[in-house]
Symmetry: C2
Subunit: 203 residues, 2 copies
DNA sequence: CCTCCGAAGCAAATATTTGTGCTTACGATG
DNA sequence: CATCGTAAGCACAAATATTTGCTTCGGAGG
């Protein structure tokens, strides 16, 4: 005994490794200790050999992007509430709840951190960002199908998504109560949407 | 000769070094090539020995924070236009113009990148962020002194600053024309401020 | 049950980043 | 004009991150 303990080397399946590494990324990002994020640290926390991480993802940006994509897809359940306001409210409430957790904020931070500087990649990222907002677009589409007149995507970006992101990034807590309603209210009551009653659709 | 060429070693003054390093940070951040930002690269680009950078700033976060603070202070001229709307519009126009340049976007990115993950530092950063918004607070104060009723800071954050930041971060270009007016219009016309005529102050 | 392929683990080499001791230039002060 | 403190530059050392060659496990297909 004491010689090799070959049995101690437990090898995990690719899926397990992937999940463990993703979790380690989120853990480290949301760790209050605030060490800087790098591949050896991630691998160690995941209990995975660092070479496995290098070989699979290549660099930190790719790993972050993969983590973010996977998690966000996993955590975006689309409820159809029957009205535009209800859908937006559900979205806003889920988002606000998310950024109240350190893990949720970490994910948003990871989105930003994984964005490279290059002009070309920046353009690609802008597209990816739009793609990531497909839940919002679906809400708009459903509303249009119902005869409602949803605000344009850019307005939703400015009035609903932007406040959510900036608070996540800078760690500014949203107001305690009524914040989702406030944002949705502003969005619908102000500009191009006939907020009050949903019936006055154009024909 | 040919032995040492001691004369080739030009030493620059601390001020020059500081400026050169700051410029190198911004250059690298906005470089379309998109290499990753680190101290050796910055030092090389600035034509400065990397030890000078390590000794003066210690780490990348501190350097980024210093660069951002210096540049933002340098580039925030406060015009007093005489009205709340005018002041906000001037601020928004300057900001939008800024994020149309790659250097301006780089600065915003640097703000985010220099933010450490730790919970404690996160709280500090939130404060620093507020401090950095003192130009907005001054605008509010002047408006109050005039008898105008400016929106609360949080609302300005959500409706004016957040859209500006998110577009800078994700590289989403603002609409070609009228964007500053649009944002200010929404901000003043909608919520707690009696937008149309400035006279109906509470007493 | 055997063989083969893909991926994880290990160890060691390489590259890169970070830190240190010392020297030297510049400017301030007397 | 001499001297003294500060900060930049250089060379080298230490720490850390990245890459590579090889071995070994586990599952898929025969």
């Amino acid at each position: 005994m004491t010689q090799k303990q070959a049995s101690a080397r437990v090898r995990r399946s690719p899926e397990e490794v992937r999940a463990a590494v993703h979790q380690a990324v989120v853990d480290l990002l949301s760790d209050p200790a605030g060490e800087d994020l790098n591949i050896p640290a991630i691998a160690q926390r995941a209990g995975v050999n660092h070479t496995s991480v290098y070989r699979r993802w290549g660099n930190l940006d790719a790993l972050l992007a993969d983590t973010v994509t996977t998690r966000l897809e996993r955590d975006s359940p689309l409820n159809d509430t029957g009205t535009l306001r209800g859908d937006l409210l559900a979205w806003a409430e889920a988002s606000v709840a998310s950024i109240r957790t350190s893990e949720g904020r970490a994910l948003v931070r990871a989105v930003v951190l994984s964005m490279p500087n290059s002009a070309q990649a920046q353009a690609e990222r802008a597209q990816q960002f739009q793609r990531r907002m497909h839940s919002i677009e679906q809400i708009r589409r459903r509303a249009t199908a119902r005869g409602e007149n949803p605000p344009p995507l850019e307005q939703i970006l400015d009035q609903l998504i932007a406040p959510f992101y900036i608070r996540a990034i800078f760690g500014i807590d949203p107001p305690d109560s009524g914040y989702p309603e406030l944002l949705v209210d502003r969005l619908l009551g102000d500009g191009s949407a006939p907020g009050a009653s949903s019936a006055s659709a154009a024909d």
